[in-house]
Amino acid sequence: MDDIALRAEHVSKIFGQSRVLDDVSFELRRGEVLCLAGENGCGKSTLIKILNGVYTPEAGAAFSFGNADAVSRITPHDARSLGIHVIWQDLALFPHLSVAENIVFDDYVASPFRPLSRRAARQEALAVIERLGVPLDPDSRVEDLSIARRQLVAICRVLRAGARIVFMDEPTASLTRNEVQTLLEITRSLSAQGISIVFVSHRLSEVLAVCQRVTVLRNGALVGTYSTEGMTQTRLSQLMTGRELMLTPRHAACSGDPVLELRDLSRTGEFEDVSLTLHRGEILGLTGLLGAGRTELAHVLFGMNRPTGGELLKNGKPLTLRSNRDAIRNGIAYVSEDRLRLGLVQNQSINMNTAVTVLDELEKPRGFLSPQRLRGLTADWIRRLGTKVSDAELAVSSLSGGNQQRIVLAKWLATKPDVLILDCPTVGVDVGAKAGIFEIIRQLADEGMSIILISDEAGEIWMNSDRVVVLKAGRISRELTPDATTEASLEEIINA
């Protein structure tokens, strides 16, 4: 019994009319790494917020810790004194303060009027950094650090606050593969120190690599808790979505005409001598480690940066792109990686977000915008992409991640491109929505669009590409067809 760090039973939560959590039980062992899995909107965040004291559960819930008596709710104060901490995806750090100050910030809040000693704060921070064994400089400013380093700062901070139970929300979402490895090692060392960790992640391979057990929620209800031993990604996504996902490899033979040809394309310091041909109706997987030059190449193909050497041909004719407007005019569209920030104007309506790339078109022939045509265009795309939208006049921020991604796609598809570049289209999108997005991508290719799919998830690339190009340090290191390889060996090639 005393190896249970936290047990929650009969946890329910109702917001207005909807029951977000329905009689969920949750159990966390001491020193365990547990995964909390489920699609977006399944109630994970609500459960975390209840366990962290942010929300009050409906009556009837029982929470117990170790061998203490059960309580009916966890107050924020309880959460603090029990050492329950959440590291949200945004990390909640202070970019302008030093690493040391971020780590000891809770002292500032707890005793605001005690005179400070900078040196003592630095010493304490250093002690935590050493305990975690990470390469952090206590004096550097957090704004100068990479996301991975910032995450370490956030971990140091909860350690310093005496964390016993740490929830990590999507901790690997913006990390490179090596950084993920470091994080997973740190996670293991924390668990060896008796700290329990709850991992929330959409990357199932990581979940299976680091967690001992996985608790699956679906539509606010508990599906079950399973050992990760013998668990496969396919089975886990089935449990999360409650349906069989149609994820068969594409591997379609492709022999369309060349649409886009790159001949020894280079941009100094970013990539060199990249030659490849994209055919009509082809999905070309472009992969490689973060920093291998994938995104940089995409920026050049989209006219955002000029190449320093080589040439680009579109339908056999040389093409010079001076700006991304040139690229759009020539039928090239680019869906950026950070779509939620760069791809959408969050507080504008779904209609406006969809139409923003073609406002000029919609003004023709009379020179002013026709609201009917605008609504017609949006309605058409919403239907074609199967987006769930109750009212297209609502702000785009009211949509779920997967549906927002569809709007970004719609926005670019509205420019009627024949080349579509997708930069990590599934980052932060849950399993069910991922499948939906790939269905759309495949359909577009079948209709004759040429697609460059950039991703660092070998599985995605292997499953959905007709051809795979692996970049390494700015050069093409391998070109292969998925038929001739397996997901696992592709993963090895990427990391080699």
Partner: protein, 330 residues
């Protein structure tokens, strides 16, 4: 970038020293005790405003009502003292100015915090409100008959100089005291660091348990307090209270504080920086006067300095080397 940024104060100080040397060589009046003391005497009011304002900027806000608030404080305090307290004294004057000033600041804090209005809008509102009230109630009439304690200047340091003597007056000491107090709160107390934290990331601060209402109340209240003190000092220096004596000062002081490393985004800035920002603009103005340049050129040059300074501090963001780290950040 970091090297440049950590050294905002250092860079400013170096520029000021360089300017001083230059002016010392080109004029024979600049590097005299008399001129330097006058510079400090004249700038102490602006400096007190600046150390108050930097707190608001660090907390991620902005306030443009402080200068007219200081005028209101002058009127209220003088009227109270003259009509109801038989003239009062320095102690009473300072305490009353601080009280009335911080109350006016708290009005801003209350509106910003309670109704979630952006600080610039609130303070544009109170700027007009305070000034309008002042003009309505005073009818634009100045107070020339200030109490004796306020009328006579209080010399602190008196040095013999080429022409008569060079004297440092009370306002400079008050400025130093206000700067030290503000600096202590900002750098030596947890509350001060929490203000930086709040300015840097309000959401993170809120989640860490920082009492946002307290941060707002302190930032705007402290600026109000500083404005009250600055108002009293200004009345002391000019020996009268004129309703429109301070209006228009808010933007140059804001510019000086931004020059000193504070940003409108919050989380950045320091008392030293704010003081040096005011000093830099003062030295430039003083130098131009001594060189016989038309005063009309001053604004132009100040604008130019600010644009150059801000551009330089942003240069690194425009350099291509950042591309890789930006990708890692996204």
């Amino acid at each position: 970038m970091r090297r440049l940024h950590l050294g905002t104060e250092g860079v400013l100080a170096a520029i000021i020293v360089a300017l001083c040397v230059l002016l010392g060589l080109t004029t024979d009046t600049f590097l005299t005790t008399q001129n330097l003391f006058d510079l400090l005497n004249n700038q102490s009011v602006n400096m007190i405003f600046a150390v108050g304002l930097v707190v608001v900027l660090i907390a991620g806000g902005i306030d443009i009502s402080f200068a007219v608030a200081a005028s209101v404080v002058q009127y209220v305090v003088m009227t109270l003292l003259i009509d109801h307290m038989g003239g009062g004294s320095w102690l009473l004057g300072i305490v009353l100015s601080m009280t009335v000033g911080s109350l006016l600041g708290l009005v801003n804090a209350f509106l910003i915090h309670r109704f979630r209005i952006v600080s610039i809008i609130v303070t544009i509102g109170t700027f007009n409100l305070y000034f309008g009230l002042l003009m309505v109630f005073t009818g634009g009439v100045s107070i020339y008959d200030v109490p004796d304690w306020l009328y006579y200047s209080v010399p602190l340091i008196d040095l013999p100089a080429s022409r008569g003597s060079a004297t440092l007056y009370l306002p400079v000491a008050v400025m130093v005291a206000m700067s030290l107090a503000t600096g202590f709160i900002l750098t030596r107390t947890g509350f001060g660091r929490a203000i930086y934290g709040f300015g840097s990331s309000p959401e993170a601060a809120r989640r860490s348990g920082v009492r946002v209402g307290m941060v707002h109340a302190f930032a705007y209240g402290w600026l109000g307090l500083c404005a009250g003190v600055a108002g009293l000092m200004q009345a002391h220096i000019v020996q009268e209270v004129v309703p429109n004596a301070l209006i228009g000062q808010e933007l140059p002081i804001l510019a000086a504080v931004v020059l000193g490393g504070a940003t409108l985004g919050g989380g950045r800035g320091s008392v030293t920086g704010a003081l040096l920002g005011v000093l830099l603009l003062a030295v430039v103005q003083n130098g131009l006067n001594l060189l016989g340049v038309t005063p009309y050129a001053f604004r132009m040059i100040v604008g130019f300095i600010i644009l150059v300074a801000i551009t330089c501090s942003n240069l690194d963001k425009l350099l291509p080397r950042r591309a890789v780290s930006q990708e890692a950040n996204s």
